[in-house]
Point group: D2
Chain length 242, copies 4
Amino acid sequence: MPNANVIVWNEYRHEREMPEVAKVYPDGIHSAIAKWLGTHDDLSVSTATLDEPGCGLDDEKIQNCDVMLWWGHMAHDEVPDELVDKLQRRVLEGMGVIVLHSGHFSKIFRRLMGTTCQLKWREADDREILWVTQPGHPILAGIDDHFILDREEMYGEHFDIPRPDETILISSFDGGEVFRSGCTWRRGAGKVFYFQPGHETYPTYHDANIQRILLNAVRWATPAGAMRIECPNKPSGWLDKE
Amino acid sequence: MPNANVIVWNEYRHEREMPEVAKVYPDGIHSAIAKWLGTHDDLSVSTATLDEPGCGLDDEKIQNCDVMLWWGHMAHDEVPDELVDKLQRRVLEGMGVIVLHSGHFSKIFRRLMGTTCQLKWREADDREILWVTQPGHPILAGIDDHFILDREEMYGEHFDIPRPDETILISSFDGGEVFRSGCTWRRGAGKVFYFQPGHETYPTYHDANIQRILLNAVRWATPAGAMRIECPNKPSGWLDKE
Amino acid sequence: MPNANVIVWNEYRHEREMPEVAKVYPDGIHSAIAKWLGTHDDLSVSTATLDEPGCGLDDEKIQNCDVMLWWGHMAHDEVPDELVDKLQRRVLEGMGVIVLHSGHFSKIFRRLMGTTCQLKWREADDREILWVTQPGHPILAGIDDHFILDREEMYGEHFDIPRPDETILISSFDGGEVFRSGCTWRRGAGKVFYFQPGHETYPTYHDANIQRILLNAVRWATPAGAMRIECPNKPSGWLDKE
Amino acid sequence: MPNANVIVWNEYRHEREMPEVAKVYPDGIHSAIAKWLGTHDDLSVSTATLDEPGCGLDDEKIQNCDVMLWWGHMAHDEVPDELVDKLQRRVLEGMGVIVLHSGHFSKIFRRLMGTTCQLKWREADDREILWVTQPGHPILAGIDDHFILDREEMYGEHFDIPRPDETILISSFDGGEVFRSGCTWRRGAGKVFYFQPGHETYPTYHDANIQRILLNAVRWATPAGAMRIECPNKPSGWLDKE
């Protein structure tokens, strides 16, 4: 029986508009990720995309979601602020969120971080080497002390994020740039994981190491408890009266 | 010669509307703080309040400000979002910000944190004991390993903030509650300090330990460098061409 | 089938020498904890004590141990340095370690922390209130936002530990003292949890909240991967030759 | 008038035994660093080396030292444990310590960290690019968002250190390796800065960026307060009797 409801959210524009992307992800990045995650019995996986009604998300889906993955790039601004409010609230209550690649500029990530989330970038078939900086972290179970992606978009420091609670991966690129490519934070009762690889023109989400990390991350981000949204007045002696 | 431009921002409503507050801070909380800070030659101190035109802040003042202190409570919503945008941007560029007491619910603090910033509370003349958890921190220079405020508003955990970069003070209250009462974070190039004491009906800002901490915090939060707001495309070989 | 080998290590002197302690823990603190943990099918639990040959631990037991719990107080110095060397190495390789109460002064904890681990203390039947500061943490699954121990030894700040990776519980005591009573760190691939309650004259380890936290902590500390102890010379081009 | 007593400690063996090192640092690495630091009026700078009596350090020098820099490599084991005990105690009391390059394996650094401090390495004239990951940090005042050392020893992840309080620099090397090359921690009241560059055959300590960072680091590490080494019994009511 599944113990986590997972939603893979994707902007799903590049894949429909650019043939070179459709070739890599014919049914969209969300479908590729959902297919792999869905082969695991502990996960119940669905997808949602920007151009579905309500961005594919309604209150019930959000409330029942345990972990949401988020890929977006060219249309961050089309995600309504009201939806971002609801997502943020749900994260604080306990939902895990895994922000992928260009999702660094998504409204929900910037909302949770409080910073610009800006970075250096280049599309030039750089080789990316991802180095483990925290061996033994559950998100890295089964991963060697480094792995390589033959081609990825370069993302370089300075990456304007709050100090991560955990920096579990740091990458280098052909040009000599470095990037904190795997970072975690807590926000309220919810866990946040930012994972940098995943440019739409490369087969990143078909890579076995990437898939393993996503699966680990979903399990890690599954809620272990909840936080109530409240700001209670507690009169003198309330503890003794309980 | 001053090396830091400091602005003490205050909502300044309680003091004008409630006689019991006016008695403690006849010219407003901002004036009490500014007066003490202003006795130090390295600081150039001014004030700004909610009901001045533009909340007492214009683009030039914000741009020239090195450290801003922020007290607000009953009228957080009257601070325009556009002003909060500018303040956030200036913090990321390097401005320090010191958020006081009920400022935990201010727009600028919640914007920088990404969380609800909720807490438990009680107005009942609790005695507050503030315990040093990081001896040797510059904000605590000259402070013993604890100090006492005879009466303060109780603020209690769970305080919904991102994990602080530094938790330098933890308080207890008569009712047995605890609170992380002194916390720091970095956001972009800017330093953030949240400092919990300061309820408007108590003479907290006349207390020598509180004044010392505010002075230390202003010096600590003074920018040591800046961050540019940008997201540059860096073509292959750019490092060698510099 | 068990997926974690757990050893509960105890000094086991107070219980044999002091009738008032024997009354609370007739078979020792280790037995009380091991009994509760052992009722869970995923755990294989054994015990070891100071006065057994080799402190009840040999190389094989250490190597096969996934999570070790450690209670000690009056005889920290009788634990041989060679054993501490082995324990430290095993933690860095991935073994979890849960340090209990007066274990704050144990050789293994001070070795892993690098600090004095000193604190304030008092034996006076204080009421301790433990407040959750990180809702949603797996160690706190099933725990409300606070819970109370009617009597405990007071441990008070400043607690001289390195900044915890996570501070998940903060306690208050009758005297107004506060203490970071639940803290986690990573050392190498191993997880460390310090948990403050557990004075030998009180029935703390019979408390349902305490038992639940210990169970959660054991599961949390179970290794998710390993670290090799090595310092390899990596000649130019090694990555391409792999 | 100086407000910090600084001691630059150096093993000083390579320079005396290897002509290619003597060519770069004819009077030793310590002299090169001390000379630059000593041009600043706020610092009183002296040196100490391994082969002086008592390693060039006595109790008085240690007690009066505000910031110690430490370079060692081939003879870490010749530093007596008793001296390391004293250095650790002094750091906890408030002394800053700046650990340089191969000092990652020094006894004092490993003592303060509690981990192996192991890493990957290569001597092959790699170009090192150092990237700023925390703009606005006082140690990086005056440093651009990156700088380059034409030749350095490669140090690569995984670097087995406790999670840094601050990771302010991350480096890449020609081989594609990355390294957290500038990290800070607090231990007791003392500040610790590990700074990776500085292989003895390269003119690293003559580089303007490196010198600037060392100067900034010394000022940052200067004590802002002290911690007493004690573990006091605090009877009921002690706070009210003070």
